[in-house]
Symmetry: C3
Subunit: 656 residues, 3 copies
């Protein structure tokens, strides 16, 4: 099988007498993987040095005997109380200056040297004990880095680490002062010891200062993860190292962490994310309350496929109502199945449900599992069984890998930090901008790859989008020059140097042989006062005053006479944050020029090409006739009449 | 007289030369009681041990000579600065970790042993000095426990007290770990010294942890109050011990505090509470801005009638505009009188206006009194005089006690804590839920008793409502089994064990001979997406997926096919938070089955049965013809045409 | 020239090689002044005592040689890091108890004695070095006092200073206790050492306590500024001492600071202030998004003309989009010119643009300058050039001074503090109240002077408005008695004594020969429930129940029968916060009685009389025909058809 199913399991929560039956039911359901152990430190080491790994061995043995492969988590997201009491300064400190206390999880500071050492110690002990266990197929490092906003800490440990990081980067205070422009407001330092963390300042801190702090904090996550990965690789040969990322989490650079992983994974909670992390208004949230945003999961599937060179999982798949969003509705019947298939459509190797049995106690007691607390089957159980059964029938017919998409979007974490530091207008949010473009491509029926800004390859893409990129990398500029496809840039792309200054020749700062263009002025707009461009729509939130050079051509002009879209050869520049219709119009024309086939999809229906097949899914509440898109014949899975929560798979040839 | 009027008076605020005249005017107005002394510590003990009680004696003597009975307050809500400076760690600490400083009132931590000792010392000194004074008829302990959210403190004193409290409850760390499910997220402790307070955690703390902290904090209030009550009883025989509770205040268990009181009282500010503490929307607030919510006062009258076995007062009655709500309009003419009569309709012994004369200085200078700061009569004065005169005429005709109501609602403070800890959906609030049911009963013209969840007697009620009860008590389950009336349960009732876990057999967890029903799943809903049940309305905020057992019958089914209302014998279960119309429909049918007489009342008109009489009051702006309800003859008080702010009393026989 | 233009310049931000060219371009543009130096401490004194003034001398010399006059700033708004590290307790502490850290600007506590000494030391060093430099024409003390809410600090230094301030004011604890009414809630102190700062109290602190703290804090700003002014005057004879105030900043008394200045100036950012500091709703903000509020600048022009006896500047004039408001749109073409002319219309001596060249680095990199970062001309450059050219042509024809206006409004900083401390209703804000009256006068085409409540002269005004004055001063009462014009008082005026108590005879507390009137009761209203008075409108937010005395006449009565407007002779009292139409109706009638000429202006058009001329400006988006107001002939500047962003000047005789 190229595609498998798994589940998250906590043997330490249940009587040992129940383990074997649990394992047998998992296997019978069609699951092949079980993730365990990632919060169990207090059971693995109840007191310093008093390791108790026996129970874990028995648990792994039990699962292994039932035919399940174990993903073993390092328990470093939940250091036990005795450890915190030994070194209380390992606790993170919030931007408000208050210690974030023990009593839940993720109560540690990534930059704390002592805790790093402890995390390596427990990882080493576990890797030595279980690294070559035949039941262990993979490892998960820690759990959900940054969850509960834990990347940033304003502790003495962080200040000390940041000073050293800056000293390495800048070598001299003068170099730092110059790079940051510290002459402004007399912020100059005479010694690295004078560096403060950029919180609790009287008004905003220097953006260059904050930007370096964000880079430092991201590097600390990378360092923390790599330390575990190195240990595991040394002691558990042949096993994959995985971490489980989250949705719309941008506080650290997932490409950097992903580079140290074999497999990226993420925790997909469509309903929680819609309620908690969507920019869409109430009408959209009401419409998709029981389905989730039709593009949010796909976006992250495409993103995390990129962070570890193609290998990726869903480590935690929502199986029913969760407990943490402002409202937690039940998924519409069929959605758990749809979400599972959607992940496979985007190339997932494994989809693992969270969790096996709902815990009746503690913080997540209202979070559904495949089983209810009394071990009866919850609603998601049957849908998982259906996926297992369909997969058995269909897996061999599908390609192993999804292949390259037609369109690529550049996604860049430092850009997210930059615009969080300096939004300039209240609504300016990098994720929202990138996701707006992504959604429009999907509405056009296009499949998308997400690529990084560093060392990207643009080969083979008909269209490449680069919205809101903070600062150019040399390799990206070179890649644009070499690109055969259409390139759509902006708004705000290239508007800063790496030091967070305005480029000397003004944005977007591209060589004039690529794009002869200057942004002379920008403005931010109230949400109720967009600037009209075409009858399709205009610019909202952010608008630029473009001055095209000699070789550039103005394609569209705003109603007030300001150039809106400018092109030079295959490079097109957008001088504002386009409303949805304008994105579709501009990107659609470029995609057409690149020869890409587009469809006009309703809100809830989405397509994804996977190798020689195309998947169609229906997040909407209305049945959709795929024949209207040109589909013909009986799909391999599903029907041409795609019902709500429906999934259909057909060959590229039959997909019109 | 069974019913009397009083006033709150601060002799220390006025020249002693004015006291006698004040007392004479009170008596002439028809008042019989004066509450004094509760904020006067800095005058009673200007320096440690330097008691100065003489002025207080002269004040009591003056009031007594004018025929007034004195309710003497202990001054412990306002410890003086010299005392705070002696032990600054008596100050409470907020959940944000910041000390709550001296400079207003209630600046003490209930769990601080040193301050408890001080509060006993000053209480003892006062009780010895005035306990047998013939002018003293009663005592008030402290003032408005929890006002300004002062039940919870996150101080070292609280942590120390909480550890000891937990040790007594659980005996061993292992027992605590098991009860709380601390294996989850490695939260296990090895020693009670490791216990932290559940604030400032990285994400939410364990709900069992928080729940125990809430119980501990409530117990500290009970302990504090009982210490004073015991001293007063020992030294002031025959006097009532009273405390003045607040509206919509649920942070401590008022039944527990009430058990140590002779009389419960509360401070009734209808306009302030409407503006500041109502869940109703703007239209409702606009409609009743000068009248108050037509059910809020009644609810608390019924509640505090229950907390001390029937004896209760209004200790502070709003007499005009107040100073503390977002907006502070003037009451409509007649409302001060209406509020006074409404209290008597619900069985109040005494209604005491706050305050005699408006203070021209300090925090409450914009709070009206019966007199203006220049001693002229404020608007409320005349209405108080009217009540006094009407009371003189009517008191003897009325029964001493209101008697048992037809309907009972269970009100349970721990349930309020539980759902504050774990709302699961943003709108889930226990008070709001209970109050929704209460309001609908009142709209049906029913009189209501509020009863506790522990040791309740359900005898004699036609209908008993148990919405949102956190966990069953054995005695309540037994009482339901023995109940002759109709019992309406849910939503969310019995959904937890006392340890804050999901019951092993799933909610509602009743024996199957009472109700064979399992709640398989719950979901929370956006306010804009209710689930339809009947044409009358459906479920909002919270909805359950019910699986009725063999002996249970599904009475109503939601539009999506899920059972909504299930019954077994005289026990009915509601699987969601019903909209108002659905409550009225379901509860109305059960009340009808119980043979209760119902009326269909407009928004502002309410009825209350009191012994052999029925009161009608009109919070609305339109005159209402009581004849349309079947009233006949000339009421004892008022007219059949019930004008805005009107009050009418007739015999049960004439009330239709 | 009576009127000149300037610019803010930061030589330390640019290579020295660029200075001469910059200076030459400034001069060529028509600028005559350059403000420099106010944030340069780290360059002037990189280490303690290691002064480096040479570069500054070269910069001043360069500007001087180009014919520019230099305004030299003291750099005390940005103490360097080495100084903060020497005495970290100079950092301010927020009301939340947290230190406000180094890393931006204004990180100092006005009440810190050590920092006061340091600020005097650097001021003295600069004054000695440059005080008699021929190129230096004026000094700016510090920069934007209170910006980022820095007047109030809750530090140990502040507590210590406050104690001493109180001791000087009250002499004895008893006197303080009496003045504050500390007997209320046992807040009495026995020693000045017991005084706490009024933050972090359990509920609101005593308003008298807070009011004295606000007075103390304002005095600390005055002290800080005067210390610099005294040093400068001693060492820089003949140069003006200036400070640059902000918009809608009321935390310290600008009249008190202004008394120590030769020239008041302010920093005028019309678009930023509209977005960030306006009470108007979204429609208004949308309408004027690219123009600014048509009355906001004028109000501050009139205000700061008053704070230093008539001499005032705009020190920083917005030249394009800024960086600090929620949205930062580009000004409509022509608005930079309009704002400049508007300042001159109100009597400004100098309008100085902020800043010469946009900085590409640090916090304000998105703030436009006259030049772009690459030294090309930004959009504001041309408008400044136009103003310079028009000024050259017109200056001589205009009077030197604007002369007395027809109407005066009393503006009083302590009243702003008082109603912030005790709004009583959510919407009650002193600035908003005064500004509502001001706007209506402007809509009637009237020119307005702003006058203080202390030692005001009311001579020569046809109409004097005194809304919301906290407490009377004897001299104001005397001035009212002597006033020949119409006086409009209220609401809430005279409602407190200086100690923040209700006057013994009740508000408004005027002698009965001036106004025989008592306010018996007040109420605050939800914004959705105004009280109707006339068909023109009624009272919102705040309403009083008036009892006119024998000599007073009720002019208007509210729909519910309560007197709304009462008059006695030339004194009229308003018993509520009038809606705009009611202000215009009442104030218009009084202005008519005073023989003032009024016009009915649309939202965006405003007039201002300046000596023998009248200015008309158009903030609106529609052309307006000035002939409809009676204008005739060809204006000296502009046309009778006043286009959007248009300016016109004509003689009083031709203005109809």
């Amino acid at each position: 099988m190229n595609r498998t199913l798994g589940v998250c399991y906590y043997p330490e929560h249940w009587p040992e007498t129940q383990w074997a039956e649990d394992a047998a039911r998992m296997a019978k359901l069609g699951l092949t993987h079980a993730r365990i152990g990632e919060f169990a430190w207090s059971r693995l080491e109840p007191k310093r040095g008093a390791y108790d790994f026996d129970w874990l061995k028995r648990a792994i043995d039990t699962l292994h005997r039932a035919g399940l492969k174990v993903v073993l988590g390092t328990p470093t997201a939940t250091p036990p109380k005795w450890l915190v009491d030994e070194m209380p300064d390992m606790l993170p400190i919030g931007a408000d200056g208050m210690v974030r206390k023990f009593g839940s999880r993720r109560h540690y500071d990534f930059s704390h040297e002592g805790y790093l050492k402890e995390s390596k110690r427990i990882t080493l002990a576990l890797a030595k004990a279980f690294g070559e266990h035949p039941g262990v197929c993979a490892w998960q490092t820690d759990n959900e880095y940054d969850c509960h906003n834990t990347t940033l800490s304003y502790s003495p440990a962080a200040r000390s680490g940041f000073k050293a990081w800056l000293q390495r980067k800048y070598q001299s205070p003068d170099a730092l002062n110059r790079a940051w422009g510290n002459v402004f407001w007399s912020m100059e330092i005479g010694d690295f010891d004078e560096i403060e963390l950029p919180n609790l300042t009287v008004t905003e801190a220097n953006p260059s200062h904050v930007m370096d702090f964000r880079r430092f904090a991201s590097d600390m996550v990378v360092r923390f993860n790599k330390a575990q990965a190195d240990i595991i690789r040394a002691h558990s040969p042949g096993r994959d190292v995985i971490h489980n990322f989250m949705g719309r989490t941008l506080a650290f650079d997932h490409f950097d962490v992903g580079a140290d992983l074999d497999v990226s994974s993420w925790d997909s909670y469509p309903l929680g994310f819609l309620e908690d992390r969507s920019d869409q208004g109430d009408e959209w949230k009401r419409q998709f309350a029981r389905a989730g945003d039709p593009d949010f999961q796909a976006f992250h599937h495409d993103l995390y496929r990129a962070t570890s060179q193609g290998r990726w999982w869903v480590m935690e798949q929502q199986p029913g109502p969760v407990n943490w969003a402002p409202h937690n509705p039940a998924p519409r019947d069929g959605m758990v199945r749809l979400w599972s298939w959607e992940a496979f459509a985007h190339g997932a190797e494994t989809v693992s449900y969270f969790r096996w049995r709902q815990a009746p106690f503690a913080q997540e007691q209202m979070h559904a599992g495949l089983l209810r607390p009394d071990s009866t089957e919850a609603e998601g159980f049957g849908e998982a069984a259906q996926v297992a059964s369909e997969l058995a029938a269909l897996d061999a017919a599908l390609d192993a890998l999804p292949g390259k998409a037609d369109v690529a979007i550049v996604m860049d974490y430092p850009s997210a930090w930059a615009w969080e530091i300096q939004p300039q207008g209240r609504e300016f949010d990098y994720f929202r901008l990138v996701f707006d473009f992504y959604r429009c491509l999907r509405q056009l029926g296009l499949s998308v790859d997400i690529i990084p800004a560093s060392a990207p390859s643009l080969d083979g893409y008909g269209l490449v989008l680069i919205p809101g990129l903070f600062a150019w990398s040399d390799d990206l500029v070179m890649a644009i020059r070499d690109c055969d496809g259409q390139v759509l840039i902006g708004p705000r792309t290239g508007s800063k140097t790496a030091d967070f200054a305005i480029p000397a020749s003004l944005p977007p700062g591209l060589p004039s042989d690529i794009l002869a263009l200057r942004v002379n002025r920008i403005e931010t707009l109230r949400a109720d006062t967009p600037v009209a461009v075409t009858q399709d729509g205009g610019f909202q939130f952010w608008r630029e005053f473009l001055e095209p050079g000699e070789d550039a051509e103005t394609l569209l002009t705003a109603d007030d006479g300001v150039p809106a879209v400018v092109a030079q050869g295959n490079v097109t520049y957008l001088g504002g944050w386009p409303e949805q219709a304008l994105i579709k119009s501009v990107a659609g024309q470029l995609a057409g020029r690149a020869g890409l086939v587009m469809k006009n999809l309703p809100d809830g229906v989405r397509l994804r090409r996977h190798g020689h097949h195309v998947f169609a899914i229906n997040y909407g509440a209305e049945t959709f006739d795929l024949a209207t898109l040109g589909w013909k014949g009986q799909p391999l899975l599903g029907d041409l009449m795609l019902e709500p929560s429906g999934v259909a798979v057909t060959s590229v040839a039959d997909a019109g």
